[in-house]
Amino acid sequence: MKLEKYLKRATSGLIGKKRLEVREELTAHLLERTHKYEIAGLTHPDALARAIEELGDARTIRAGMIGVHTMPKFFATTGLSAVIAAGILATLSVSSAQIVGTLRVPLEQCQSSSAQIITLKTPIGGTIEKFPCEQGDFWLEFASLRATLEPLGVKIERANDPQLQESEQFYLNFPDGATVSLYLHKMFYFKRSATDKLEKIPYVSGYVEGSTLIEAFRTAGVSFTMSGWDNPVLRIGKTRFQIGTATAPISGVNFYPNVLQTRLFSLFNGWTTESSMPDTINNVERQVQMYGAPSLFRSHKHRIQTQFPAGQIVVVASREPSHSLEYEGKNRVYPAFTRTYIAPVGKDGILEYPSDAKTLRFKDDLRSLSVTPKDGAGDIAVLKFTSDLSYNKKSFELVPSSKLSK
């Protein structure tokens, strides 16, 4: 199964015959290496694990292969080097891009080979296909944002700042006085100059990175809230609008962790020490991303009765025991860490909560959470957003345990 999983990751995003060919080539490589280590005395699982480790992170292979095999037609027809296309792709994958009116693929879909592929246009013609299941961010098309906000009375003006040659800044002036300063995301492409040097050329993408957008709104100085799971609704002052469309949806899985990660971290900071939670920010992010999608990797599913209406977003905090996670092809062992599970309350106020704990204990103090033993009794604390997420306000409040039941 490990081999299958690896091959799937390494070839996802490739299409048809090319995918099969890459798969066959990598299979031959891994099996030959595995055989060599078996002869040297390793068991088959150990030999295979070592062969996979040596071949390296499947995502590296996939990114490289996609760069070659989904090369924009423009590059192919003009004879520009594929290195140029790969350069653009590498730049994009750093920022993790998504598109048109928004887009981010739910984690569940990323487990399947039919996960959505998006197409990015380059400023010099041609397109690039991008597999969007890597990182938790999302992007908004600025033109879509403008078309949504202007009819609501928001005046949008471009900042004339000579310092901003490589990016564009806009001011969004809301009807009730708030001004949001927004930067469009900067990308790069590579072009070969007359002297045959590769030049890195910046351009304004026309997209706003999701976290940038939310942070900009939060610092605008008026009340700001978010609600809803699929295509969440933002409200700033009296203006409401939706992030995502029916054809380009945004799931809360990708929206809330990304937006709230640093706020969650600040929430937990102070009751854990660095020695017990190294790499804490990454842990919070990874756990939210890994377990934000329902039912993934957990042995028990609990139904918690809340007093919230359906759709209310809540955060369930728990402490998890030491275990190892595969990260960039290597197993990293983590000591106890914080798990933050973000999800919407379902029908009749029921929150489905996947956990390794067999039974749950509700707590009223984050500091009193003990580490959840597998298949034992686990402590949890439930939090919800406050009614105003603007920057100088508290973002979360604890839900009293008296308002929760099993």
């Binding site: 060919e21 890459v22 066959e24 080539e25 990598l26 299979t27 031959a28 490589h29 099996l31 030959e32 290496r33 055989h35 040596e54 071949l55 390296g56 992170d57 499947a58 590296t60 292979i61 990114a63 490289g64 292969m65 760069g67 070659v68 095999h69 090369m71 080097s81 594929a82 290195v83 790969a86």
Partner: protein, 113 residues
């Protein structure tokens, strides 16, 4: 004595040249290329395997290499063998010349006040 590995960027920047040099002699498949690079350089070129395959595919897409599957002599899955094309041979000549010019330029900097 410990064999120091080259700087990763140096390796990456010259990966095309290295692959073309190795394949000049005869067609080889991925794992064979890795082993050949290590053997011929006493382990100096121990590049990341994951970067090899995208590079081979890129050179193939550029027309410098031609790849074809062949049955494995050990009965395992088919292997993809890569061979240098005429275009690849010309590219190798160019890259060798570039490398030599670069080496001479570095040499000429040595010993200057």
């Amino acid at each position: 004595m410990e064999q120091l590995s080259p700087d990763a960027n140096l390796l990456k920047g010259n990966l095309d040249l290295i692959l073309l040099e190795i394949l000049e002699a005869q067609p080889m498949y991925g794992l064979e290329i890795i082993n050949e690079a290590q053997t011929r350089t006493d382990g100096y070129f121990d590049f990341k395997e994951g970067s090899l395959y995208p590079a081979l595919h890129r050179l193939e897409a550029q027309g410098w290499l031609s790849g074809a599957f062949q049955d494995s002599d050990s009965g395992g899955p088919r292997r993809k063998y890569y061979r240098l094309t005429d275009k690849g041979n010309r590219a190798l000549e160019r890259k060798r010349a570039e490398w030599q010019r670069f080496g001479r330029a570095i040499e000429s900097l040595r010993g200057r006040p």
